[in-house]
Symmetry: C2
Subunit: 145 residues, 2 copies
Amino acid sequence: MSTDQTSSRPRLTRQRQLILDRLDQVDTFLSAQQLHAALRAEGETIGLATVYRGLQWLEEAGIVDSVRTTDGEATYRRCSMAHHHHLICRRCGRAVEVHGEVLEEWSRAIAAEHGFTQPEHFVEIFGLCPECTTRAAQNESSDSL
Amino acid sequence: MSTDQTSSRPRLTRQRQLILDRLDQVDTFLSAQQLHAALRAEGETIGLATVYRGLQWLEEAGIVDSVRTTDGEATYRRCSMAHHHHLICRRCGRAVEVHGEVLEEWSRAIAAEHGFTQPEHFVEIFGLCPECTTRAAQNESSDSL
DNA sequence: CTGGCACATGATAATGATTGTCATGTTCTT
DNA sequence: AAGAACATGACAATCATTATCATGTGCCAG
């Protein structure tokens, strides 16, 4: 019992800490590429592959969660609690965590109704955040197309 | 001017019809690559790029809809009606269209609550279909890990 | 303190899906 | 039948992601 084979030696390294710190500073989703560029811009030396690996590891560990953008890029964000969904601004990328018991129940019910087991659901709501809504309204007048 | 610039000349071509026919035959999601391979296997001459373009067009036209797999590949399926979601078997890929007024209302409410406008939502439920559930239960006894 | 080991890193190459290019084919209009 | 407008197909280009592999780093035993 004293043997702990699941967790081995070093784990949360300097570069993984860097990634995590960075994600703590923003409240939007960031792609691996963006994260890498941002860290390099700050003068940190970190490889792109390391960012990918770090994010994968952090995701498996349940420390961050990921969302695919419509063009297939994976983006990551630090997440606080067990289960939640996101309300994402399709313009600036700002994200808000939302919860919904209604939704959980609904998905369980739908799955059961069709005889599906072990249901898991992925929900993302995209829209325009208050700021971007205002900005969009202002640009309306000068819109040619 | 009787010129109709929104809808121009040829549209639903032979190869787009091929894609559509193929999607009508299955009830799972197919990727562009799978679709292309399947059509070529049947002896049809159709280019990969054409499949991609065809699917894009069909999607914009609302004739098919797409879902991203967890590894980022876009998959497509013929869809019947305006707005719905999917209950997808994560083992065999079988998909069932589901509807939920509850969900629509919920997403509108959540968006409004946070001042977001023009909400759009993406919902997918993944689980094991009845058949795969049975099969999984049978394999349990011989599972080593 | 020191050697060794397991894992992490970083640079780069490889992969794989998707998109762009461009010359040619198709089809519709006149 | 001619011309315009779009579609096609082969191939190159792009872009995110993953694999490779030699090197680095931190932790453990002695």
